[in-house]
């Protein structure tokens, strides 16, 4: 019997929500924004795909040339670490808005991050994450406020309480009914997205469909948490006007302001040096070490080889060769770790900033949803960090071959009060095609869902907490009335 009564309570609440003007207007607004968001996403994706293809073609052309012998001292097309675009970046913008592709293995200039680490998920771009967070977030918050305030003001809540129904059952019926209405809203947005992508005919893949479903489910969780906050606000506010003002303020704070604030706070508390500055330092250190080494080896060469007319026979001087090799190995032994330490420290501080921002993101449902959404789409911090690690590993692999074991060593030999540049040959240059290929980091859907899991867990906790607190507030407001 009780399940039938509960079902009626739920149906009535769902009808009350879905037939309200607020629901209709905000859902229509969300549905109107979906095509705009997807259009922007697909345009960016198409342009980036074209750029990626062009870079890949250049890389392949370079690597197929037998005569291409990279020196490792400059950016070369054959040494590009090109990231594979994820199609779900059309749903949630993030790191895919910029591409990073160049690797200069000498360690002078390294991969550039696509965006400042903390702003990757706070770009404010109009994407599906924005539509759900901002528009449907407002819907959830105001419907939650309505759940209690509307019925309290109209007297319907009193009529319900005068029936043989427990307060818990009334509350549960209201919450479940509200959640169904929210589920309907997010389902409409997800279905519209799928339909539009299907109509374009080129983007919809099973993986993208699953990503949309996962995004919708996470969005639903976020909306339920916002709904709970709305109910909680309604239990604390006596007047409907005050409640509306509180709901709007809460929406501005939670859905609009916290994500950029968290990004700024993370930057303040865990500052990160810009990659450009790090690379500048690395280049300066490299220059210093190299100049010092080539001068030192040049002095050795000058003393051993004699006048410039005898330099051409120096290659056959085994003692000299041994001395220069030893000097070079010493240089590699000291310079390489110091350059790597610079990059490792930069990566570590970025990762620390990401971790700090992630922890802060768990403080509000909107920021947790933003993180979860960008993780699901594969455009967030975790995916970036994996790609960054893969690119650095590739860079290290190249450095092992091109920097640490170069075909020739350039030394500066004293001559008539100046220094002349002499190349001391070691072995023949490696062609590009013999260098290792870049294998990108894994960024498939299961991995992305695992990335999103902590934020989804946070959202679940938020939802339970908000609904639980709002139930206590509901009981308290009824007790106050009595």
């Amino acid at each position: 019997m009780m399940s039938g009564v509960f079902a009626r309570l739920v149906r009535r609440e769902t009808a009350a929500h879905t037939l309200s003007g607020r629901f209709i207007v905000l859902v229509l607004l969300a549905l109107a924004l979906v095509p705009v968001a997807l259009y922007q996403g697909t345009q960016t994706y198409a342009a980036q795909s074209e750029a990626v293809q062009r870079l890949r073609d250049q890389r392949e052309a370079e690597r197929s040339k037998a005569s291409a012998n990279p020196t490792g001292l400059q950016k070369e097309p054959g040494l590009r670490a090109i990231r594979t675009l994820v199609s779900s970046s059309i749903l949630v913008r993030g790191m895919e808005t910029d591409l990073a592709w160049d690797v200069a293995p000498a360690g002078i200039e390294s991969v550039q991050p696509p965006l400042d680490a903390t702003s990757r998920s706070a770009t404010g771009a109009l994407d599906l994450e924005f539509v759900i967070r901002v528009v449907l977030g407002l819907l959830a918050l105001t419907l939650g406020g309505d759940l209690l305030a509307r019925d309290r003001d109209s007297g319907t809540l009193h009529s319900l309480r005068c029936q043989p129904l427990s307060d818990s059952l009334i509350f549960a019926g209201k919450v479940v009914g509200g959640c169904i209405a929210l589920g309907l809203a997010v389902l409409l947005v997800a279905m519209t997205s799928l339909l539009l992508l299907k109509l374009t005919g080129q983007f919809l893949t099973p993986e993208l469909g699953t990503a949309i479903a996962a995004l919708g489910a996470t969005g639903f969780l976020y909306m339920t948490a916002m709904y709970g906050l709305g109910v909680l606000a309604a239990t604390l506010m006596r007047s409907y006007a005050a409640l509306n003002a509180a709901a709007i303020s809460l929406w501005v704070i939670v859905a609009l302001v916290t994500t950029p604030i968290i990004a700024s706070l993370a930057t303040l508390v865990q500052p990160v040096r810009s990659r450009i500055a790090v690379e500048r330092d690395a280049a300066a250190a490299f220059d210093l070490h190299s100049r010092d080494l080539s001068d030192r080896l040049g002095d050795v060469f000058g003393q051993a080889a004699g006048p410039p007319t005898a330099w051409s026979q120096a290659d056959s001087n085994l003692d000299l060769r041994h001395e220069i090799e030893s000097g070079w190995r010493e240089h590699v032994r000291t310079t390489r770790p110091s350059l790597r330490a610079l990059h490792t420290a930069a990566s570590a501080s970025e990762a620390a900033q990401d971790r700090f921002a992630s922890r802060l993101a768990l403080l509000t449902p909107a920021s947790a949803f933003t993180e979860a959404a960008s993780a699901i789409a594969g455009t967030g911090d975790a995916a970036f960090r994996r790609w960054d690690t893969a690119a650095r590993d590739y860079q290290s692999a190249l450095e092992d071959q091109l920097f640490d074991d170069p075909p020739r060593i350039r030394i500066r030999v004293p001559e008539s009060g100046r220094r002349a540049l002499v190349a001391f040959n070691r072995h023949s240059a490696l062609p590009s095609r013999d260098l290792p290929d870049f294998t990108g980091a894994k960024n498939d859907l299961p991995q992305r869902l695992r990335d999103a899991a902590p934020f989804v867990a946070g959202l679940t906790l938020f939802t339970i907490l908000a609904i639980g607190l709002s139930f206590l507030g509901f009981r308290r407001s009824l007790a106050t009335r009595n």
Binding site: G4, L9, R12, A16, G155, H158, C162
Partner: protein, 250 residues
């Protein structure tokens, strides 16, 4: 042995002292037998609604007990409410539903009986005088007596032995008032026990076979059965309502 309670509604020294020290209800006693229509008459603020809400278990008494079919409404409010239909002063219905939808909704959520069909609901609504054109009409703009009648239809469908009405005649006048009296009369014909609170002594006089006069939270007069017959309830009310409650007449 028959353990059925003699009185379907009982109040024993029912008191409510809301915060702030003001007395809402003080030592209210009442016993309503099966089939009786009892009216609690008093001006606004006399404590009528407070008494009814304690009787249905929505509000807790500060002292005393309220029983419906022998069930203490403070201890088991939901159990007590299964045996009664309460029509609040606001008589609020659910906005997105039609009148018929509301009758079906409240009849279903309020009673454990078998599922009522739309035809059952329509018949009950016709019985209490709701016109065909109003059956499926939206709530907006419906006159109050139609809304009260819809609640009476809910009472018929739920078939509870007790019906409690809070100021049903408020804002209802003329022909509509007569229709309402006819509708409440239908409950009497079906043997329901009715307790109503009203500020309208004339309305009470048309229906009740027991009158209780309430002033400032205290019962100041009570007339039963044959005492009510033929007397002017309005006069009774005016006689007592103007006095300081020094004693309760026997």
């Amino acid at each position: 042995m028959n353990n059925a309670p003699t009185h379907l509604i009982e109040a024993h020294a029912l008191s409510q002292w809301p915060t702030g020290g003001r007395i809402a209800v003080e030592g209210f006693d009442l016993s309503v037998s099966e089939g009786e229509i009892c009216a609690v008459v008093g001006e606004a603020g006399a404590g009528k609604t407070a008494i009814l809400e304690m009787l249905i278990g929505v509000a807790r008494p500060s002292r005393g007990r309220a029983l419906v079919l022998g069930i203490d409404t403070a201890v088991n409010p939901i159990g007590a409410r299964r045996h009664l239909t309460y029509v609040s002063q606001q008589a609020a219905l659910c906005e997105p539903l039609t009148l018929l939808g509301n009758v079906a909704f409240f009849a279903a959520v309020g009673s454990p009986g078998p599922q009522r069909t739309a035809v059952d609901c329509e018949n009950a609504m016709r019985t209490v005088g709701i016109a065909e054109r109003d059956l499926r009409s939206p709530l907006a703009g419906l006159p109050r007596h139609r809304v009260i009648a819809a609640w009476l239809a809910v009472a018929l469908l739920r078939d509870t032995p007790v019906v409690i009405l809070d100021d049903p005649s408020r804002g209802v006048s003329g022909q509509d008032s007569l229709q309402l009296i006819e509708s409440v009369g239908e409950l009497r014909r079906r043997g329901k026990t009715v307790l109503m609170a009203t500020g309208d002594a004339l309305f009470a006089g048309q229906l009740a076979n027991r009158i209780v006069i309430l002033k400032a939270g205290r019962k100041i007069a009570e007339r039963r059965g044959s005492e009510v017959f033929g007397m002017s309830v309005a006069k009774l009310y005016l006689d007592y309502a103007g006095r300081v409650p020094t004693r309760v007449p026997s």
